[in-house]
């Protein structure tokens, strides 16, 4: 296990409570913009809670799992999640978001809002769909990734995911983009999105073209 990065710790120490409140308020904004049916479903299954923290997420997730009586993360998983912007923790039905992540620095106010909303929508995309992807959907991950727009495909490939995670990541990335379009009253299938992928997202997240 690598030692914590002292420069990252110093940078985080400079962040204030107001910085974290800002991130939390932005996640709340993103929550309020989800389709009502999705909010209701997440509430019904006890998956409507989130936590904004100012620590690398591998350590946070490991601690939350252990304190909840679950096995902790392997050292490799913990190290990998330390770099994450946000994590949906299935066993705890909880989203955690790194409100002090270095990638959120130097964004202007508008870009910050959209990026944090994107991260939250991505995770709620996981929360809605992760249990509804079939073994066949997961097995089709490599093929589906080839059908995805190049930018999404490359982003997933660079993220260090295993091929068994490709379908989940594709669904979450597309869900966030559909939410971005939804905020502009666009509810139909985007022309840049392959029909098979759109149908998968509809099926596993409950996305509809209705308000």
């Amino acid at each position: 296990m690598a030692e914590p990065d002292p420069s990252d710790a110093e940078r985080r120490a400079r962040l204030t409570e107001a910085d974290l409140r800002r991130a939390d308020a932005t996640v709340r904004l993103a929550w309020g913009q989800l389709p009502a049916a999705h909010r209701e479903l997440l509430e019904e299954i006890g998956a409507s809670h989130w936590r904004v923290v100012n620590e690398p997420l591998g350590s946070v997730v490991d601690g939350l799992l252990r304190s909840g009586g679950h096995p902790g993360l392997s050292p490799a998983d913990r190290l990998w999640m330390d770099k994450a912007l946000a994590v949906w923790i299935g066993p705890l039905r909880l989203m955690v978001l790194d409100g002090g992540h270095r990638l959120m620095e130097e964004l202007d106010e508008t870009a910050y809002e959209w990026f944090v909303c994107n991260n939250a929508w991505h995770e709620w995309g996981h929360a809605l769909s992760i249990g509804l992807c079939s073994a066949e959907d997961i097995a089709a991950g490599r093929r589906l990734l080839e059908l995805a727009p190049e930018g999404i495909r490359e982003s997933i490939r660079k993220g260090g995911y295993r091929s068994s995670q490709y379908t989940h990541e594709l669904v979450a990335n597309v869900y966030a983009l559909l939410m971005i379009r939804r905020r502009q009253d666009l509810l139909d299938r985007p022309q840049w999105l392959n029909e098979e992928i759109y149908e998968l997202v509809e099926r596993v997240t409950g996305w509809t073209e209705r308000e």
Binding site: D77, W88, G90, F115, Y161
Partner: protein, 56 residues
């Protein structure tokens, strides 16, 4: 990622060489391809881009 049960976690992480701006730029490109102005591009930046395209 190793370990069992990875399917119960949804982890959003970027590549070592990727930034938030890269993500927003990728999304902006998709939106622009269907004629939508990405909302996170400030009006000033959009006006500058429009001015540049006019003068080109």
């Amino acid at each position: 990622m190793d370990g069992e049960g990875v399917g119960v976690f949804g982890v959003y992480t970027l590549g070592e060489d990727q930034t938030a701006q890269d993500v927003l730029a990728m999304q902006a490109q998709l939106l622009r391809s269907e004629g939508i102005d990405p909302p996170w591009v400030s009006s000033t930046a959009a006006e500058l881009a429009a001015a540049e395209s006019l003068s080109a």
